[in-house]
């Protein structure tokens, strides 16, 4: 499987567009969790534009793949993906965080078409995904459940309760992806609460670990293929990423967990994103 060069170019362009739309949305929203949104943009792009079977005309289609963004605070980077995909009008993004808007900081499954679970309180998504998996098995449905988690989120004990159980139930159609941007609100993950040896922790819970550059489309696709092929042992993808990826002054800065951007900031950010993506595309995924 993997992706073709044509796919690569399409995905690169899409990620660039979605990073810009994320920045726009942060400005409309009056602020947002931009750092962790931009670190996950490439993963979200790969899920929605290459892997997940979804139907924008029938968001509740029973046979769809499920996508659970367990790090629910990145709604400001996730809603643009759902809007761009066509689940709802992009105009909605302009109302982000406004009183009575359907879109708030943490997305609500009963208001946002295409969303599979409300999230916000951390450490929940993996358990929900396991429930989805067990249900799919009883229904004999062949679906995948993609779960995007933050690395800081893995401080939550419930993540490890779920990890233990996913391994126990051999729920290999759950595909956990950890957005390993190494930053949390109060500082670098290894300073606030040490996660390393992180991969070993997952291995100890019964997972095969695939570690990748989470901003490399070829590597993301390969990791997804490996995870989808898992039969007896689940696969976790540790995607090494940068918080604020694509905007030079935000990149790898935990201080940009949450930020607001004014009109001139949008212009500057968009130019920076273009420069970042131009360079990345030129490298051709090498």
């Amino acid at each position: 499987m993997g992706i073709s060069e044509q796919d690569f170019n399409m995905l690169e362009d899409k990620a660039r567009e979605l990073r810009k739309l994320t920045v726009q949305t942060v400005s409309w929203a009056g602020g947002g969790h931009i750092g962790g949104a931009l670190s996950a943009t490439d993963i979200l792009t790969m899920i929605y534009y290459k892997y997940a079977r979804v139907d924008v005309k029938n968001p509740k289609w029973e046979d769809r793949d499920r996508v659970i963004v367990s790090k629910g605070h990145i709604g400001v980077g996730y809603a643009p993906v759902l809007a761009d995909k066509g689940f709802f009008d992009k105009e909605w993004l302009k109302t982000y965080n406004h009183t009575e808007s359907k879109l708030g900081m943490h997305l609500d499954v009963n208001k946002v078409p295409g969303l599979d679970a409300s999230s916000g309180s951390l450490g929940h998504g993996l358990s929900i995904a396991l429930g989805n998996s067990l249900g799919a098995k009883l229904l004999k449905k062949d679906i995948n459940i993609y779960v995007i988690m933050g690395d800081g989120e893995c401080d939550e004990g419930s993540i490890w309760e779920a990890a233990m159980a996913i391994s126990h139930f051999k729920a290999t159609n759950v595909i956990p992806i950890v957005d390993r941007n190494r930053c949390m609100i109060d500082g670098p993950t290894e300073e606030v609460m040490k996660l390393e040896p992180f991969a070993d922790k997952w291995r100890a819970f019964g997972f095969d670990v695939v570690e990748i550059d989470g901003h490399n489309m070829y590597q993301i696709a390969e990791a997804f293929d490996k995870a989808k092929a898992a039969k007896d042992k689940p696969v976790v993808i540790i995607a090494n990423t940068f918080k604020g990826c694509g905007i030079s002054w935000m990149q790898d800065k935990y201080e940009y967990h949450y930020a607001s951007i004014d009109a001139s900031g949008v212009e500057k950010s968009v130019a920076d994103i273009d420069a970042y993506h131009d360079a990345r595309k030129a490298k051709g995924g090498k």
Binding site: E62, R66, D108, V109, N110, D116, A117, S118, S119, G120, S121, G123, H124, L126, S127, I128, A129, L130, G131, N132, S133, L134, G135, A136, L138, L139, G157, S158, E161, A162, M164, A165, H168, F169
Partner: protein, 335 residues
């Protein structure tokens, strides 16, 4: 609807939780979407009754309540009707964040059947008592809260929970409950509608769960003293039967609430909220665990110890009957 035709003999021989397990098996036989979850308490909560016929539909999360309720949410999203059972304290507290965000917020069809509620696991101490759950669970939007009084009512309430879309919290006790109803027919369980167990115009005793039997015992003694006590079985705490409470305020002007729960936040508070909004004076007494961590002991002893057994209710009733207030006012035009 399950074929709920339990006899008195069966109800006498089965614990309340066994009535739950048996009813659940019937529901599972009729509906392949009924599934169960437990957290290493499948045997104690009797949800393990599913194992005989439906072992593929009972998921044990191990001692991991947060994960169990998250899994239940995920199963409900797939169209299943998950029944999740562990002790009340591990439901309403250990798993609460998942219940709040994954189940209630998303309005998913999960039935939380919590056992060992109140002081029913008396000897186990306060780590296993649960006298806070009604207060906690009735503030979860979308969630219904039910407290059946005996085995018959538990069977009916479990079936009603299955038929009611959305999250339901149902709390039952450990072991046997004193039977309140003599037959399935006598139990008229209807969600959100209190059952009048005894007519009366002098005062109203509003009880829930195991306290209904105590209220009935007390009402019989009061009858001998010439005090006609109305007894309401308030099996549904949310949505509360406001009409029955307003009627009690109007008709009897004296209300005692009785619950196997902290006196704060539970049945008594729910009744008081309705009562004060009527704008009418009403003598009122809440009976329950007086905001303490309970001593250990047998369930029935503890209810007596904390003054919400039959004797405690009697004392409160006599006190309220002695309360002096405007008996002569005509309130008929005020309701």
């Amino acid at each position: 609807m399950a074929n709920l035709n339990y006899t008195m003999l069966e109800a006498t021989n089965m614990t309340t939780a066994e009535m739950y397990g048996s009813t659940l098996v019937q529901l599972a036989e009729q509906d392949s979407k009924v599934v169960g979850l437990s957290a290493d308490l499948a045997k104690s909560t009797k949800i393990g009754a599913l194992l005989d016929k439906f072992s593929d539909r009972l998921f044990n999360a191990g001692i991991a309540e947060q994960n169990m309720f998250g899994m239940a949410a995920g199963l409900a999203q797939m169209g299943f009707v998950p029944f999740a059972s562990t002790f009340a304290i591990f439901t309403a507290m250990r798993g609460l964040d998942q219940i709040h965000t994954d189940i209630c917020y998303q309005n998913l069809n999960v039935k939380m059947i919590a056992t060992h509620a109140g002081l029913s696991f008396g000897q186990a101490g306060s780590t296993h008592h649960c006298t806070e759950d009604i207060a906690i669970m009735r503030t979860m939007a979308n969630c219904k809260v039910i407290v059946p009084c005996d085995g018959f009512e538990t069977a009916k309430a479990v079936a009603a929970a299955y038929e009611t879309p959305g999250p339901v919290y149902l709390r039952i006790n450990r072991g046997f409950d004193m039977p309140v109803y003599k037959s399935m027919d006598e139990c008229k369980f209807e969600l959100g509608k209190a059952q009048e167990m005894k007519e009366g115009t002098d005062l109203t005793i509003i009880a829930t769960g195991a306290c209904v039997a105590r209220a009935m015992d007390a009402a019989k003694v009061l009858e001998g003293e010439g005090i006609r006590a109305r007894v309401l079985n308030m099996h549904t705490i949310k949505p509360i039967d406001a009409d029955a409470i307003k009627k009690a305020v109007h008709d009897t002007r004296r209300i005692i609430t009785v619950e196997d729960h902290n006196i704060y936040g539970g049945l008594g508070s729910a009744v008081a909220e309705v009562m004060v909004e009527t704008g009418k004076a009403c003598a009122f007494k809440k009976l329950g665990v007086p905001d303490v961590f309970s001593i250990i002991g047998l369930h029935e002893d503890l209810m007596d110890y904390y003054g919400y057994g039959a004797n405690g209710i009697l004392a409160a009733a006599r006190e309220l009957m002695g309360a002096d207030f405007e008996e002569d006012d005509n309130w008929d035009d005020e309701i």
